[in-house]
């Protein structure tokens, strides 16, 4: 009846091996941190990251598993107890790992590090590594554990059970808000990648009929043949990338796919509504298969290419923009690097997945360590690769692609002059040549991170796997990003719709019926209108929209992580593990510090590029003095309103975090002093019948 997770003393051989891992990791991290002036090889990033994840996994997660959570392999998991062959089903740990990783890895860890590279590679890289090992992995692991011990309940239900109705309600509304902001900002990323690019637009557009075709195939032609359908779809997608090049050059078809950002935003909004009301089998499910295969294949290929190629990192370790004057988004390195990296280090969203499908599949409680902690380490590794892909670009090129026209100037000559004056030389000829190589008209001010990531990936791929196809690789990378951004957009709209239907169902019961079409149309419409509003006005904002929306998303996502850690902390206190409570309480304290600081600055900073309110006041003053003319004067009232709306949202997030933190402190105090509080909702210990007849490992 021993818990198999108890730590074993290290044998001499493993002691030697782990000493080497520690030494190599320290050396690689030292090389990254101390390198100045000379460029540094990207391989150091990979080596440092792998060593740190390995050490974190082997030692810290073993400590968590054995001492803090006391994983018990003899205890029957929800999958075993409620085995219905569907939702609840004991599943091979590698299969669960695959599903879990596919669910948590979205566009966030690719975009966040790309934007955060404006501070130089060092701040972002350190936070990705440290934040993941001590924060993100712990959050995912503990959330998964809590859910397993509570019959596979969701985060919202656990918040209600452990913290009471206030905690539960706040968690639910938080999830809705984060979903809206997330979808708007992701839509903006896709729009900026497709803006005036017939190649990108036609390729991304082609993914829709391809997904429909695969959906029909898997439903009607060969039901359930997932691999066949996906293989056909992937082949068609690759063909669409090549076909886009042909359309781009075509005199008649090219202009059909040439749109400005606001027009594309409207198309995305219409598409989002259509996708959300169509049945899942037709569009969402097949595209999800395609995007999962593409994602895993492309990320693996990127890792291989970086190892083969060992590209030089050209970005300095730290840039002057840590003082808050950065062109991509305003704000000091503290707290904004932590807000910007978001999903690569710690993502509150993961706690929804870790308390969703995954806990219902685990055959053995002990696997929570591999899947929860290990899955997040893998995601964090994706973020490190995105950081590398951004930093192998010439810094001048990186800033030219990612800086909005409102900051560096609308004309190419103005932009290169501004960027070069910062000490990152770049020329108009260099940018034109690069755009021509990538098969694009221009790469200036393509904010959002996707295009610069695609340029980075294209240069790595073409050097590693075949020169001369830069334009094809570039558009492949754009297609790959757009594919799973659109999946998130569709899936997120649907989830927000279910939640809205659930809430409205409390008032009007008929609205709660998820298959009642008037309710489906109304609720989908409301959700799409909400994110569509932010998306559309993001495209006409001269500062690029990303500038204000991404920090808002980061704050919302870290807020959700704080909610998950509050639940986890309460659970630890209630289960008598007070002496280990720092495991979740320290990351929680850190998250509350950074979200509060960031939210406060976004609200009240006098810097117009940071504070929403000071930006609104500045615009209002300019409008009043008549210094704005033409389109700028027309848009100003709308931008002022948006700033105030963003400020209200930020305020809401700030209040939410503090309500839940105070609630947690109150419940923990009540539990420790023996006062009345909701009891721990942990389910009873039922011995597993799988362990004796299951050959494990």
């Amino acid at each position: 009846m021993a818990t198999t997770a108890a730590p074993r003393p290290l044998r001499p051989l493993s002691l030697a091996i782990w000493s080497i891992v520690v030494a190599v990791g320290t050396f690689a991290l030292g090389a990254i941190a101390l390198s100045r002036g000379e460029s540094i090889n990207a391989l150091w990033f990979i080596v440092a990251a792998i060593c740190i994840y390995a050490i974190g996994y082997r030692f810290y997660s073993a400590f968590l598993a054995a001492k803090v959570l006391a994983l018990d392999s003899t205890r029957a998991t929800p999958a075993e107890r409620f085995n219905d062959g569907r939702d609840f089903m004991p599943t091979n740990r590698w299969v669960v790992f695959g599903h879990h990783f596919a669910a948590i890895a979205g566009p966030g860890p690719l975009i966040g590090p790309t934007l955060a590279a404006q501070f130089g590679y060092l701040p972002g890289t350190l936070w990705i590594l440290i934040g993941a090992v001590l924060g993100g992995c712990v959050q995912d692991f503990v959330a998964l554990f809590c859910s397993i011990r509570r019959d596979g309940r969701s985060l919202g239900q656990m918040a209600r059970d452990e913290l009471g109705p206030i905690g539960g309600a706040v968690a639910l509304i938080g999830v809705m808000a984060i979903m809206i902001i997330l979808i708007a900002v992701l839509g903006l990323v896709v729009v900026n990648a497709m803006r005036n690019s017939p190649w990108a637009t036609s390729t991304v557009a082609a993914t829709i009929p391809i997904a429909l075709l695969v959906g029909l195939y898997m439903r009607h032609v060969r039901p359930g043949r997932v691999l066949e359908g996906t293989a056909i779809g992937v082949a068609l997608l690759l063909f669409a990338v090549l076909g886009g090049g042909w359309i781009d050059d075509h005199a008649t078809f090219g202009p059909w796919f040439d749109f400005g950002a606001p027009a594309l935003a409207i198309m995305i909004i219409v598409y989002g509504f259509a996708a959300a009301v169509l049945p899942v089998w037709l569009l969402l499910a097949p595209r999800d298969y395609l995007s999962t295969f593409m994602k895993i294949g492309t990320i693996a290929a990127l890792a291989v290419a970086i190892v083969i190629l060992n590209p030089e990192v050209k970005m300095p370790a730290v840039t002057q923009f840590i003082d808050g004057t950065g062109p991509i988004f305003g704000g000091n390195v503290f707290p904004f690097v932590f807000i910007t990296i978001a999903c690569g280090a710690i993502s509150g969203f993961h706690s929804l997945i870790a308390s969703g499908t995954t806990p219902k599949l685990l055959a053995n409680e002990r696997d929570a360590r591999f899947i929860g902690y290990g899955g997040m380490a893998m995601e964090s590794f994706v973020a490190i690769m995105a950081m590398v892909a951004a930093c192998v670009l010439d810094p001048g090129v990186y800033f030219a692609i990612n800086s909005p026209a409102g900051v560096v100037g609308a004309g190419a000559a103005d932009a290169v002059a501004t960027i070069s004056s910062w000490g990152y030389p770049v020329t108009v000829e260099q940018m034109s040549a690069l755009a021509a190589e990538m098969g694009e008209e221009t790469l200036f001010a393509r904010t959002g991170g996707a295009p610069s990531l695609a340029v980075g990936m294209a240069s790595i791929f073409s050097s590693a796997f075949g020169e001369g196809l830069l334009d094809v690789w570039y558009h492949f990378a754009i297609m790959f990003e757009a594919l799973f951004i659109l999946t998130t957009l569709d899936a997120g709209t649907r989830v927000a719709r279910f939640m809205l239907q659930d809430m409205l169902g409390n008032v009007v019961p008929a609205m709660g019926r998820t298959s009642w079409y008037p309710s489906v149309l109304l609720c989908s419409g409301l959700v799409v209108a909400a994110w569509g509003y932010f998306l559309y006005f993001g495209t006409i904002d001269p500062l690029g929209g990303i500038n204000s929306l991404w920090p808002l998303f980061g704050i919302a996502n870290q807020m959700l992580a704080a909610i998950a850690l509050c639940v986890a902390t309460t659970v630890l206190v209630k289960s008598g593990k007070v002496r280990f409570v720092w495991v979740t309480a320290l990351p929680l304290a850190w998250l509350v510090t950074i979200t509060t600081t960031a939210a406060w600055q976004k609200l009240f900073s006098p810097d117009v590029r940071v504070g929403f309110l000071s930006h609104a006041n500045d615009l209002a003053a300019q409008l009043a003095s008549g210094s704005l003319t033409g389109a700028a004067a027309e848009q100003a009232p709308r931008l002022i309103f948006n700033d105030r709306l963003d400020a209200a949202l930020t305020m809401f997030f700030l209040v939410t975090v503090w309500v839940i933190v105070i609630e947690t402190a109150r419940i923990c105090h009540a539990s420790l002093t023996g006062r009345r509080c909701p009891p721990s909702a942990e389910s009873a210990h039922i011995p597993s019948r799988l362990v004796e007849d299951w050959v494990r490992d």
């Binding site: 569907r86 566009p107 359930g224 997932v226 899942v280 997945i353």
Partner: protein
Amino acid sequence: MIRGLEFVMGAGRRFWSSVRELTGDDAYERYLAHWRLHHAGDGAPLAREDAPLGRAAFFREEQRRKWDGVRRCC
């Protein structure tokens, strides 16, 4: 030689079946196995409504269920 070939083919089969399991390609076969184990009773002839779902019906049901909740993340 023969044994080597058998080993390679065995490894290939194992690899293929793990790919199918990971992607959910074999979901229907797994469902049938589960059904036989838990619902097939004592081998007595079954009424029609007690029979397992067909492949197409199972896949329909499965997709509806799979997307009913938070499934994808940022």
